[in-house]
Amino acid sequence: MEGMAGQKSSLTWAVNIAAFLLVLLWTIPTLGLFVSSFRDRDQIAQSGWWQSFSASEQTGFVRSGTAADQVQDGPLYVIEGQATPEGQRLIAWGTSPRNPAQYRPGETADLGDGATLSVAEDGSYRMTSPQPFEMTRGDRIFVTTSAPPSFTTQNYRRVLTAEGLGRAFMNTMTVTIPATVIPILIAAFAAYALAWMQFPGRALLTAAVVGLLVVPLQVALIPLLRLHNEIGLGKGYLGIWLAHTGFGLPLAIYLLRNYMVGLPREVIESARVDGATEFQIFRRIILPLSFPALASFAIFQFLWVWNDLLVATVFLGNTREQLVMTGLLRELMGSRGGEWEILATSAFISIAVPLLVFFAMQKYLVRGLLAGSVKGG
């Protein structure tokens, strides 16, 4: 008995730990992206996001002032200035690239011919010489500094205030909401017919819809655009709604039909005996009971349309009136795509709405709506 109970609990632990590790593994990239979105470009280039929570040490050099900057102070000629960037603490400094951390802050280095250089703890340097300086190019002062962890909301400010973002957001909404609602409306009707109405060729039709799932949308883009142009639809919202509807329908019909087929036959027969017409059965029984399936497909379709760039690029114009968020963010990132901090920030800004949709819908995903209708249900 003891062995059995013990085994079970240790197994549970193993499962929990494994699940925790998996979740951790799964969320780390997102966390990384999130942290990166609060760092500036230099920080991203110099160190990984995981180092951003501790002070970072870096070595670089600055050039001292030139002869033009010198002032005479009694018998000495002096050049003064700041060797470290603002907000960084000096750890060590040096005068030669071979030994860039030769001196501690506050020490004085002999530069020969009576000239000296000292760098104070606050990063200010003082170069003195009994003779006037004659160099036209400043001497190099190597500094090793440590910067405290620092985060910035500058990226967010930049993306959020980018010109046309509000407009692009509205454009994306204009694309996404109808492109989610229209396929659900059509697919629900189709799925009910394919699941519960008797007509010849029903099985073939279902098979054909499932078969359409394998067609990659990329092959359809250009022919579809040509069709749109030929029938006078051109590039515009109506065109992209139709395109997204078409690309989404096979999966929608397939998902909804499979769900509806699983609804208890007796409930539908009961409604039929109760005098409900085919449409009333659909509206009052099937639709409410299919809500979990409708919600999950709505989430899929919403995410996919929201994040879409390809279809929008093809079916919408590049004008300010039609540019979607993904298109705008791509422009922000620069032509070489090197601005990672913008990439990370954009990702988090564009993720916000889908997250909202997901949390609004997820209770319908989990809840079993069929409980109580039939025995054991």
């Binding site: 009961s270 409604a271 009052r284 039939v374």
Partner: protein
């Protein structure tokens, strides 16, 4: 006028005929039970009356009206399903009012009828609950209430109690019987449980393989079965059958030492027959050739499982308690008037 009339009704599923020309008249206000082993077509027949299955051939009349091709909703029937088939997203009141709502009745009338049905079934405290928050018995009561609200000409019950536990089943059985008395409506009830059939029915229809074997009042079927199937199906424990042969004006069975007089003219010389004896028609008597294999003591009665010298098994109902493990051998006696005779091949009763 009969409540439900079936004229040579047939049903084919593709090439397979499952209902073979059924003729039946259910009187108005009658409680008719379809009974039979599973797969005998009793549920199919009920669904044909409801309009949920198309009728391949023949005619179905409800209160004199031909409804063979009518929609379920236009037949004036209400059905109670084995699985309850409640609408899970509606409250009890909405469930019961759904049918009237679909037919465009005014709200006040729906509310009144729902309240009336809830009163009859004592569902008033549950009206605002969803089906998920109800027990099995309550769900079935809601399903019955949904049928009542519609005020149908015919109630159809498809094994409504088989998902309930034994205690609830007894309770609901009484409830449905009471309902039938109160409403006085025609009811057709499908079950495979013969206790339900015997206790509730005005008329039992015994079906086998898509054919009606016999129609009659419960006690008529018990006392006067038409054939071996009905005799074996009605009554619990089932009737005992032993092989026999008519010889010299006597029915001789290898199982019994005694012979029986061939009382019926149908018992012609040399014919092989089966003798049917109800367990309660047999009496144990002293020592004899019948070995006791097992005894089921139920307190008031005991069912003794005996094996005859011919190898045939017999069940005897007796008041005397026996060793449950069996052992020993006993004699049997019975009144020759209690014996039924059946043709060994066709199973028809030889009267």
């Amino acid at each position: 006028m009969s409540g439900v009339q079936l004229n040579r009704v047939t049903k084919d599923f593709g090439p397979v005929r499952v209902i073979h020309g059924v003729d039946l008249a259910v009187e108005q206000g009658e409680f008719c039970v379809f009974v039979g082993p599973s797969g005998c077509g009793k549920s199919t027949l009920l669904r044909m009356i409801a309009g949920l299955e198309e009728t391949t051939g023949g005619q179905i009349l409800i209160e004199g009206q031909d409804v063979t091709d009518a929609e379920p909703a236009d037949r004036g029937v209400a059905m109670v399903f084995q699985t309850y088939a409640l609408y899970p997203h509606m409250t009890v009141a909405q469930n019961m009012g759904f049918g009237l709502k679909m037919n465009g009745h005014p709200k006040a009338e729906i509310a009144a009828k729902v309240a009336e049905a809830a009163r009859i079934l004592k569902l008033e405290p549950l009206l605002d609950r969803k089906p998920a928050a109800l027990s099995g018995g309550q769900r079935q009561r809601v399903a019955i209430g949904r049928a009542i609200v519609r005020g149908p000409k015919v109630f159809l019950f498809d094994e409504p109690l088989s998902n309930l536990d034994a205690e609830l089943r007894v309770e609901m059985r009484a409830e449905i019987a009471r309902l039938h008395r109160e409403l006085g409506a025609t009811m057709i009830y499908v079950t495979h449980d013969q206790v339900e059939a015997m206790t509730m029915a005005d008329k039992i229809v015994v079906l086998r393989a898509g054919r009606i074997e016999q129609v009659g009042a419960p006690m008529d079927l018990y006392d006067d079965p038409d054939n071996r199937f009905v005799a074996g199906f009605i009554g619990s424990p089932a009737m005992n059958f032993v092989k026999a042969r008519v010889q010299g004006g006597q029915v001789v069975s290898p199982a019994f030492a005694a012979t029986l007089p061939a009382a019926s003219p149908a018992l012609t010389e040399g014919r092989t027959v089966e003798i049917g004896l109800r367990p309660d028609a047999l009496r144990l008597s002293g020592d004899g050739p019948f070995q006791v294999e097992l005894a089921e003591n139920l307190g008031g009665t005991t069912f003794a499982h005996l094996r005859a010298p011919s190898g045939e098994k017999l069940i005897v109902q007796t008041g005397q308690r026996l060793d449950p493990a069996g052992g020993g051998s006993l004699g049997l006696s019975f009144d020759p008037a209690d014996a039924f005779f059946f043709d060994a091949e066709t199973g028809q009763r030889l009267r």
